[in-house]
Amino acid sequence: MTGRVMGIARNTFKEAVRDRLFAVIGVFAVFVLVSSFVIGPLSLGEQVRITQDIGLASISVLCFMIAILVGTSIVHREIDRRTIYTVISKPVERWEFIVGKFLGLVATVSLLLGAMTIMLTVVDYLVGGGFPTQILVAVLLIWMELILLTALSVLMSTIASPILGAIFSLLFYVIGHTSADIKDLAARSASASVRIAADVVYRTLPNLEYLNVRNKVIHGVHVDTTYVAFASSYALLYAFVFLVIAVMVFRRKEFR
């Protein structure tokens, strides 16, 4: 069983990493990190903070792009191009297929994340940031957020075309980061239906801000391990939910 899952995961990883898009984004990532190094001296002494801020922000955004762009097309492409026929006709459970795809994607995103983090810590060290354990905490939660988004994009790719899936995922990302604000603003609304709608949105969609400790870390506010544990389990629970739904959808799928 794990042999099949890992086989699919390995294949997905190879496919994603050999994709031209991955190389483009990888190059771009290097570019961004190097540029933060260059902008530093212009920032009137805020170099460390700028480096960390641009670094973390770009890690978050670029890895998110990989997760969404590659993820939303991955299952759909297989169905579209019918490579999936030869896999489904093998003794593979439908859930093994979904989980394998998911793990392969996570490995791909993690690769990019890991490489960028190493570069960031090097650059950060060079501009005098010392060894930033808290930066790694921020990266850990970014990683959790990426796992959640990867699971979401796998789900999207089983139910929608790549473009639609990408749009939905982007919307999801934006709402996820602003849902607390939406709830606060809506609480002031006179209309009860607006309040209720905003409350529903807040409760069902994941509040991605829980996983964003970038600001805290940069300003030196300590994030304790309990919080990290809770926030991580939050993200992983949602990822689990998305995968379960994806499996349920995929089980019913027919390939005309």
Binding site: E15, R82, Y85, I88, S89, K90, P91, V92, E93, E254
Partner: protein, 341 residues
Amino acid sequence: MSVLRFEAVSKVFRSSLRGKYLYTLGPIDLGIEPGEIFGYLGPNGAGKTTTLKLGMGLLRPSSGKVLIFDRPHDSLSAKRRVGFLPEQPYFYQHLTAVELLEFYGDMFGLERHENRRRALDLIDKVGLRKFGNTMISKFSKGMLQRIGLAQALVNEPDLVVLDEPMSGLDPIGRREIRDLILDLKARGKTVFLSSHILQDVEMICDRVGIISAGKILEIASVADLLDRSVESIEIHLEGIAASEARDLGFTGASALGDKTVVTVAHQAEINLAIMRLVAAGARVAAVLPLRGTLEDYFMRQVVGGEALQRGVPGSDGRTAGASAATGASELVSNAAGKQGR
């Protein structure tokens, strides 16, 4: 015990969410016996590929059930003993041929060395020895067909299901694949293949099933079908001129090279005809039954039968009748490949 059995299997298709067009396949009752090569014939849009997909679990039957080796067709234990080649196959472009086969080997849980050994062996067997490390993205259609057959054999299956295995191959390739299939039979495997190249089917299949517009018209052994289609018998003679034969009452007699050919309508009349001709001084060079080809039989069954059927929409939107006719003309001109679905 049938290797693959369809029991009253039918599938209902709607063409859109509101179901404007209703297309039903079946009910199909079909049993593939161990050790035989079964050919599944039909014009485009008849439902060949749909039947195969139903068998492989890519589609779910609206009613009825499919059994493989007496087990549910979508169970893992059943799938372990089956190999499948889909029509117009497409494979992961980012892998090499060997990597592709090893990937499928992983799906069967093959151990690493055994996996590699089999992959190389199969690549050799399907005639792709020099292309083991070439990316699939560079493969021609014929090469894809071959690697497709290879992946169907990774697990040394007892049942091999092939959808249009000869499509896209040149005559040499088709010969090689035919030989491969015969070799499978020689080793005790069962083969279920669909095709619309009747010559190939005639050459290698034991039995055929003919499907048209979603219904099975006939299932019979190839020999039976061809026997039924014996139309007349030719007697090739030497030592007698065509005109002399005509004088004897054989009105259709004609010259063929240095021989005279006389046609007799029925098997029973052969002896009498030969006696008369020999008595007139002829020598018998050959006696040949003229069989209709499978193609003629097929055309009669399918195109003729169409008049009795309601015109139902095929998957490409045209009626089955229309597609049968054009399909038939395609068969005659032996075009490869199908219209887009």
